[in-house]
Amino acid sequence: MSEIPSRYAPRVRSAAERRDLMSYVWGLALALVLTLVPFAMVQWHWAAHTALMVTIGVLALIQVVVHFRFFLHIGLKRKREDLWLILFSASLLIIMVFGTIWIMVNLAARMAIPM
């Protein structure tokens, strides 16, 4: 078992290593862009309030996917149980977070609490 892989190992390993390394470099580059853009937009008021909020939200979600893909190596081609667990947790989060905000904002409106 140890004879044959070791003969081919150096070439295979260096290619795999470059791929793993580039994953982190790409992740860093994309995350930097996705961070710098919203910070610059807020710093220099590049857009109206609503457009700014939507852009911040969308870029944050893209950056989360970038971190999952390039730093945590979770992708569609990999072991699917990890992805299922993320998607299940994400669906729970969406139900609970947006459910909470919906109910509380609705309650505030009905009780005339400024929100």
Partner: protein, 223 residues
């Protein structure tokens, strides 16, 4: 190959190794690491379950913050208390530490000299501690401006959310020191490798939580 690690009795362990069907979240060590690689599948998936439950906790604290953000009770609000500069530095520090931990993972996987691995881990630790220093300075600035947790519902929610992440980073830094001690005492044995793989997941996860914090709390608060 020892017998105690056979976790899938219906499949030949060696056949599974050769087909590289051991896979888990984060960087995969590969068959070169034999026992650490085969044990990582169940261990890292278990740790992943913990991370997702932690994500639910953070999600509910975020929802609390979102419902209370306008409840300033006449006290200082986000515009008076937040400063974009330090938050930007904190974001860069955490992103850089995620990258340097990635370099440490590559050094571990491809069996670089242990000194290289320890070097990347030390850089990561310094970046993590610098992040905590900037964050504590933020909090003291807020306190000085009257932004204490007891002032309003908004401030209670803020100090529930952001320091919770800071506590996680503190725990991760302590864990990192423990891993350095484990490397020093035991070397890179299977337990140490599995610990480093789990800490890497935790570290990258905390960076993802921070994306939500700088977007939802700071950028939305100052937009």
């Amino acid at each position: 190959m020892s017998n105690g690690i056979l976790q899938h009795p219906f499949l030949d362990l060696e056949a599974r190794q050769n087909k590289q069907i051991f896979q888990y979240p984060g960087i995969n060590l590969g068959t070169e690491h034999e026992e650490a690689h085969t044990q990582a599948e169940s261990m890292l998936f278990g740790f992943w379950v913990f991370l997702m439950s932690d994500a639910i906790i953070f999600g509910m604290v975020f929802a609390t913050y979102a419902t209370l953000v306008s409840g300033t009770a006449g006290g200082p609000g986000p515009r008076e208390l937040y400063h974009l500069g330090p938050v930007f530095i904190e974001t860069m520090l955490l992103l850089a530490s995620s990258f340097t931990f990635g370099m440490a993972s590559v050094a571990l996987k491809y069996k670089h000299p242990t000194s290289a691995l320890v070097g990347w881990l030390l850089v990561t630790l310094v970046l993590g501690l610098a992040f905590l220093g900037f964050e504590l300075n933020d909090f003291s600035t807020m306190f000085a401006a009257g932004g204490v947790p007891t002032r309003s519902g908004y401030l209670s929610a803020f100090f529930d959310l952001v320091p919770l992440h800071g506590l996680h980073v503190t725990a991760a830094c302590i864990w990192l020191v423990c891993m350095l001690g484990q490397i020093a005492v035991h070397g890179l044995d299977t337990k140490t490798k599995l610990g480093l793989l789990r800490l890497a997941l935790f570290w990258h996860f905390l960076d993802i939580v921070w994306i939500f914090i700088f977007s939802v709390v700071y950028l939305a608060g100052l937009a």
